[in-house]
Symmetry: C2
Subunit: 314 residues, 2 copies
């Protein structure tokens, strides 16, 4: 039996999994990232975790490849880190692919954490039937990935898909991370929802309670009016942005994943309505808004899915 090893490197934890051709996790392990210990420690953890996966394999199991998804901007061609910010200090420049291949003599693929979610969708999920789709990951921030003609859109150095830094209000607040004004991430993401919540509460002159996005979404689902106003802004902003992505890419689907979207059908239905109202008829008809098929394990399954997607092993 053949397996792909997936590694999902995030700011707080590293997930390892052995994934079969059907996308099922056969074996898994979790480590804390402890990013502040620096890049050498992180590399050691990654190599140790892969080692562990290999030695735990059932007899007769074969490793077809190792797929890695990492926070930060990754140069897919070289498999090294083009840029990583405060999430993974010192990680910039690490030649992950080379280090892993030198150690294990197995082909490795390295990409950023949202691109591998798109690969998971392409290989196992909602993207199987589509050649052209956009993935939006609504987590702490807003990440994106774009598939055109069945391939990820990468741009000059693999930085394409930073959809969180598309402006939906050129008179809006300045984005601390990119310098643009009114980036969609400032509205439709965990931190964005919390920001709008705090703004709305201070305008309402209520006590200095700072709800997080989960609390705001729960209050919204229970019909609390202030939370309703906040989520109305979130959905209008995101609806305008998604309509813009549809006009930009003419995709067959927009796939919504990440923690915020796991709120369920109420959120997606409201978003879908906002998007429909903002999209030209022909493009709207050609495009479906879908929840991500692969759930909380999308990062590690997507990391592994690279092996099946690029490895020509099918």
């Amino acid at each position: 039996m053949e397996f792909a090893i997936g590694v999902d490197i995030g700011g707080t934890k590293i997930q390892f999994a052995a994934v079969n051709r059907e996308g099922a996790i056969m074996e898994r392990q979790l480590m804390l990232t402890e990013a502040l210990l620096g890049p050498q420690q992180l590399v050691d953890k990654v190599l140790a975790g892969i080692e562990g996966m290999i030695s735990n394999l059932t007899p007769g199991g074969r490793i077809a490849g190792i797929g890695i998804g990492s926070a930060g901007q990754i140069d897919f061609r070289t498999g090294s880190v083009a840029f990583a910010g405060e999430t993974l200090p010192g990680w910039t420049g690490t030649p992950i692919k080379r280090l892993v291949e030198e150690r294990f003599h197995i082909p490795a693929y390295v990409d950023n954490d949202v691109n591998v979610i798109a690969v998971a969708e392409k290989v196992f999920g909602a993207g199987r039937e589509f050649e052209s789709f956009v993935v939006i990951a609504l987590g702490t921030g807003l990440g994106g990935a774009i598939v055109e003609s069945g391939q990820l859109v990468r741009g000059a150095f693999g930085g394409a898909g930073e959809l969180g830094h598309v402006s939906v209000d050129f008179n809006g607040p300045r984005c601390p991370s990119c310098g643009n004004y009114g980036c969609i991430e400032l509205y439709a993401s965990g931190t964005g929802i919390a920001r709008l919540g705090a703004e709305s509460l201070s305008a309402g002159a209520t006590a200095a309670w700072k709800p997080n996005s989960r609390e705001i979404i729960e209050a919204w689902l229970q019909g609390e009016p202030l939370a309703g106003d906040v989520m109305d802004r979130v959905i209008r902003a995101l609806g305008s942005a998604v309509a813009g992505f549809i006009h930009t890419f003419n995709p067959e689907a927009v796939i919504i994943g990440g923690g915020v979207s796991e709120t369920g059908p109420v959120f997606l239905d409201a978003l879908n309505e906002a998007v429909q109202a903002r999209t030209s008829a022909a493009m709207s008809k050609a495009c479906r808004l879908l929840p991500a098929y692969v759930g909380t394990d999308a990062g590690v399954i997507g990391a592994a899915a690279q092996v099946w997607h690029y490895g020509n092993n099918r």
Copy 2:
């Protein structure tokens, strides 16, 4: 000597040209579109114009192919019109490629008028050295085209690149053509600039003078303060949108063409400054903002350039 015949079908005129491999126009003809006469008359004009180009060829000249750029949404694969609005009434559904190939027995390529400008840039212009770039055409409206890995991004049915219908203000006015709010076309285009000008004048309680975009740009260049305010909004809105495109595509270049951009370096310099301030450092460093290389004849030269780009005749 080999020629490509280019045909540029617009709302008011049709341009025909015989273009050589270096992008020079060797022969040209202009017809009025008279779109209201309907699609059959339009087809007849297009065929007659091509006929004329062929019969005027110098002895020994060979036609390598016929390239057509048309207003509206074009399905490149079939070479037929997917959707054309009021600009070319009844044009939707016309199988241009088939009609032209049946008549002349020469390979024909049909695409929309902005995609062929991107092809002109790829074959003859600023895009020759780039595999990944975005073209923005600032005319009456705002059109776009996207090149990734040397190929046009087309999406589900060839509608990709409608960059004018990306929102830069989700609380802005509703766009009459697509339904989104605060589309960038409502700010940074001939009609957008005129709209902001009228708004600004009525706020200033001046007489009911309605300047067009050319007059506003001229007044801006001469230091007129009200026009300065208008153009400041235009440039901030367009700067935010272009920064968003850079974050989306990580392109090597953004190429700005169309009538508004022909204002010259003052406009492009101001836009460049606004874009730089709004773009994350790594992406900004990797991307140049350039004026379109091919000028007023970009439509017909680009139409012809399809023959050299797709024909494998190089």
